[in-house]
Symmetry: C2
Subunit: 212 residues, 2 copies
C-alpha cells in the first residue's frame, strides 16, 4: 500500500495510526500542504478533493480518512478497531465523527486561510476561532466519555478503536494551538494511554520523515 500524507495532517495521522495498529506496512509519500502540492498535478488528479490522505491498495485508490479506516477494518479485521455489537460500533463511530465532522473541519488550513483572506482576521482572532471549536467539541466529547460506563482505558473499553484513532490527532492539534485541556480530564487520560502504545507513538507528526 502507499499512503499519500503530510506529517501535520491530522487526517493522515489517523490513517497512520490505523495502519500501525493493524500491522500493515505502507510506503509513505509526502504532499506538502503548506506549499500547496495538494492542488498541483500529479496529486490533484489522484484526489479531486485535493486533500490528504489517499491510500492506494493495488488498483484501489481510497480517500477520506474514516472511509479508509473502515476499509482497513473490512480487509484486515485483526485487531478490530470497532467493537462487535451494533450499539458499540455506533458509539465508537459517533465519537470518531464528533471529532471528524464537528471539530477538525472547522480548523483546517483552508478555513484558517479564508478567515485571513478574504475575511481579514488577524492571527489572534484566528486562534480564538480555533480554540472556540476545540473547546465546544471537547466539552461534548468529555461528557460523552466521562458519563458512559462503556468508556474504559480507551474511548470504548480497554483496547484502542476508531474513536481513539481520531481523538489523539485532535489532541495533538489542540496542544499545538495552546488550547486549554484542563477541563477534559478523561480526554487527557485516554490520549496519554493511547500515545503510550507504539502504534500511536510511531504515527506522531514529529516522527514522520517529512517533519519540519
Amino acid at each position: 500500500m502507499k499512503l499519500y500524507g503530510y506529517f501535520r495532517s491530522s487526517a493522515a495521522y489517523r490513517v497512520r495510526i490505523a495502519l500501525n495498529l493493524k500491522g500493515i506496512d505502507a510506503e509513505q509519500a509526502s504532499i506538502h500542504l503548506r506549499k500547496g502540492e495538494q492542488k498541483q498535478p500529479p496529486f490533484a488528479a489522484i484526489n479531486p478533493q485535493k486533500f490528504v490522505p489517499v491510500l492506494v491498495d493495488g488498483d484501489v485508490s481510497l480517500t477520506q480518512s474514516l472511509a479508509i479506516v473502515e476499509y482497513l477494518e473490512e480487509t484486515h479485521p485483526q485487531p478490530p478497531l470497532l467493537p462487535a455489537d451494533p450499539a458499540g460500533r455506533a458509539r465508537v463511530r459517533a465519537l470518531a465523527l464528533a471529532v471528524a465532522c464537528d471539530i477538525h473541519p472547522l480548523n483546517n488550513l483552508r478555513i484558517l486561510n479564508y478567515l485571513k483572506d478574504p475575511l481579514g482576521h488577524d492571527e489572534a482572532t484566528r486562534n480564538a476561532w480555533y480554540r472556540h471549536w476545540v473547546a465546544e467539541g471537547f466539552a461534548a466529547l468529555e461528557a460523552m466519555l466521562a458519563g458512559d460506563p462503556a468508556t474504559g482505558r480507551f474511548c470504548h473499553g480497554d483496547a484502542p478503536t476508531l474513536a481513539d484513532v481520531c481523538l489523539v490527532p485532535q489532541v495533538a492539534n489542540a496542544e499545538r494551538f495552546d488550547c486549554d485541556l484542563a477541563p477534559y480530564p478523561t480526554i487527557r487520560r485516554i490520549a496519554e494511554a493511547a500515545r503510550a502504545l507504539p502504534a500511536f507513538a510511531a504515527a506522531a507528526p514529529e516522527k514522520q520523515p517529512d517533519a519540519e
Copy 2:
C-alpha cells in the same frame, strides 16, 4: 424507534431518508434549533453534543447521522445502503464524508452565528461564506462522480446508498441559499433521480410536521 430531529436539519434529513429506505417506522420528536431547544433540558441530557439527530432504539441512544445510518445498515440490512465489496463501500463512505465532513459542518447554524457574533460579519458575507464552501465541496464531488464509471443512476450504481442519503440534503441546503448548481450536472441529475423516490420525497424538510 424515536427520532429527535428538526425539519431543516440536514443531518436529521439524512436519517429520515435512511429510515424510509429501510421501511422503518420511527416516532418523530421535533427539537426547535432556532429557538435553542437543543441546548435546554431535557434534550441536552439526551445528547451532550446538543445536536440533532438522536435516534433511540429501545435502550440504545444513538448520535451522529452517519453512525446512525451505519447502525441501521447493520441491524436492518435490507435494502443495503452500502455495496458488498470493500472498495465500493469505501467509495460510498468517502462520498458521504465529503459532504458530512467537508461541506455541512462549515455551514451549520452555529458557524453562521459565530461569523455574525463575535466576528461581526453581515448577511452578505455570511452567504458568501456558505456558497464558497458549497462550491468547493460540490466541485470536488462532481469530479468524483462524473469521472468514475462506478457512478450510475445514483452516486454508486443504480440503487441509492449512503452517498445519496448525504447528497440530497446538501443539495436542498444549497438551493435554500441560492447556490449556483449549474456547474454540477452529475450532482443535479442524481439528486433529481433520488428525490423522485418516495423514501427521499417523504423525508424532505417541507413534508415534516414541524415545517414552518
